[in-house]
């Protein structure tokens, strides 16, 4: 399949990088709220259980989330909840 890439011209003063800037990575997870998003792939929960143990040991507060299906984008309410409650999110992408 041909990869369609559309080009547009930057309307800005070009004082910032063209790519969207990522949020800065926190220096430590101690005291942070970390969301673990299970995308509903088989055995993702097993993996995330262990991640949760390790994070909790590192002093993080862990909140668990689960997408209804890995085949679709996370529902907007779920995304909103994660973005308002968590400072960091880890998504278990594959089984």
């Amino acid at each position: 399949m041909t990869r369609i890439v559309r080009t547009v011209l930057d309307p800005t003063g070009e004082v910032k990088p063209a790519g969207r800037e990522r949020v800065r990575r926190p220096p430590a997870l101690d005291g942070r709220t970390v969301g673990l998003l299970d995308i509903s792939k088989p055995r993702g929960d097993v993996f995330l259980d262990r991640v949760e143990e390790r994070l909790a040991a590192a002093g993080a507060t862990v909140v668990r989330y689960r997408k209804p299906t890995f085949a679709k984008n996370a529902p907007i309410d779920l995304r909103h909840e994660i973005s308002t409650k968590c400072e960091v999110v880890i998504e278990a992408l594959a089984d």
């Binding site: 990869r3 011209l9 309307p11 800005t12 070009e14 063209a18």
Partner: protein, 464 residues
């Protein structure tokens, strides 16, 4: 582009006339009389595009690097005269019309402009990913005012630039707050975002120039907590030429030129200048006109000289006038049939600009509708008379506007007590004629702080 002197024969493969005359072209090429340019090669297509060839076959005579003569299609006698060779194509019909140039095939114009002229564009290229929705991508990058924008592809920007004779690299203004140089190209990119047609671009350029002057002070206007944004009044033939609205709903929605010119100016301030609400834009409430506030004066039926003429632009020329305006407020007077009575209504309503007890610091525009203007026309009042009468009605007694008077803490300092204070400074009140034919209503547009510390109205001619 260096063209050697001689004759060029422009042809394309799938043109029956070109096929018919192929032996003639080969004969002339073999004899060194013509050079063949085939639109089937990239170089040939580019040359054809640059020379504006519309028909194939075309013979072009080049002298001193310039095309001095063109011959389209096949006509034996004229080809013989053009090439200076007799007896061409003896077995061919005497004449055949040509075919369209490949450069004119559907969809080719934009493609060729980008391929062959795209290098004039200096803006950074930003790729929109395969899985990104184009409209969402514009929002994600922070390039919109909250409404969807048109993605500024190179083809669209080149089309936009065709709306002006100015060079893409020419610097139009330095845009605050980031003090970024706005090239014609960058303004065109934002005009595409705003939804402008190319013929609007000269008006947008003039508006950007006017906004970024020290007098207009778009930096301060942007940063203020006050309501105002740039109001753009367009005068002169350009308004009609680009289909601007000066009539029914002139200050409202529904006309593309009105809506997108004002929007393009605000997008230039946002994207180029970096002036974003919550950033440098600190407006407490703002006003809906900060999306776009642009309209044309109805000069045709006006009893008065156009605003731009009053402000020094020769009649018949096009110009924009920018004013740091808040939202329109209504003046309802359905009963006055004399200029004197209506002027008193105007004065009463104008007293409330900013606050009934504040004076001199805020200018105002009155948008006078045709039915109200008729009242002044009938009584023979010109603008100067109207202004003088309204100003004299708005001499406020210092005692009534001093702080605390009327039980209202707001007002002017103690020093005004016992004196008479004009509501507006001498050049602080302007009248413009616009609106639908029906309705005994006018509109007041209050200004932001005027003078050196604030914003002055600025008028700029619209160039090509």
């Amino acid at each position: 582009m260096d063209l050697p002197d001689g004759i060029l024969a422009v042809v394309r493969q799938d043109c029956p006339t070109c096929t018919l005359v192929a032996p003639v072209v080969s004969e002339l090429a073999g004899a060194g009389v013509v050079d063949v340019v085939s639109e089937d090669s990239d170089d040939g297509l580019e040359l054809s595009w640059r020379l504006g060839v519309e028909t194939v076959p075309t013979l072009l005579r080049v002298r001193g690097g310039q095309v001095t003569e063109r011959l389209e299609g096949w006509e034996r006698s004229r080809w013989e005269a053009f090439a200076g060779v007799a007896g061409l194509g003896p077995g061919l019909p005497g004449h055949r019309p040509g075919c369209g140039s490949r450069t004119l095939d559907p969809g080719m114009a934009d493609d060729l402009a980008v391929r062959f002229a795209g290098d004039v564009l200096r803006s950074r290229r930003v790729e929109v990913g395969e899985l990104e929705d184009e409209a969402e991508a514009m929002f994600d990058r922070g390039w919109t005012d909250g409404l969807p924008v048109v993605p500024p592809t190179p083809a669209r920007v080149l089309r936009m630039l065709a709306g002006t004779t100015r060079e893409p690299g020419e610097v139009v203004a330095v845009v605050p707050p980031n003090m970024v140089e706005a090239s014609v190209e960058k303004v065109a990119v934002n005009a595409v975002l705003a939804g402008c047609r190319p013929e609007y671009l000269p008006v947008v350029l003039a508006a950007v120039e006017a906004a970024c002057t020290d007098e207009f002070n778009i930096h301060g206007l942007l940063a203020t907590t006050y309501f105002s944004g740039p109001m753009v009044v367009v005068n002169g033939p350009v308004a009609r030429a680009i289909g601007m609205n000066s009539g029914v709903n002139a200050l409202g929605q529904g006309n593309r030129a009105n809506a997108t010119i004002g929007r393009a100016l605000q997008l230039v301030v946002r994207n180029l200048g970096g002036g974003v609400p919550g950033g440098v834009d600190r407006a407490t409430l703002g006003n809906p006109g900060k999306y776009s506030f642009c309209f044309a004066e109805d000069e045709e039926t006006s009893p008065w000289e156009p605003l731009a003429v009053e402000r020094g632009v020769p009649g018949g020329r096009s110009a924009v006038t920018l004013f740091a305006g808040e939202g329109p407020r209504a003046v309802v007077d359905q009963l006055s049939r004399t200029a004197d009575s209506l002027a008193r209504s105007f004065a009463s309503c104008l007293r409330t600009v900013a606050h009934p007890k504040l004076a001199i610091a805020f200018d105002a525009f009155v948008i006078v509708s045709p039915e109200h203007a008729r009242v002044f026309r009938n009584d023979g009042w010109d603008k100067a008379r109207l202004r003088t009468e309204v100003m004299s009605l708005l001499q406020l007694s210092g005692d009534s506007v001093v702080r605390g008077a009327g039980g209202i803490a707001e007002g002017l300092p103690e020093v005004v007590r016992g004196s008479s204070i004009p509501k507006f400074r001498a050049d602080g009140l302007w009248f413009v004629h616009a609106g639908g034919r029906a309705g005994l209503f006018s509109a007041i547009i209050g200004g932001w702080v005027n003078g050196e510390a604030g914003s002055q109205p600025v008028t700029r001619e619209v160039r090509t």
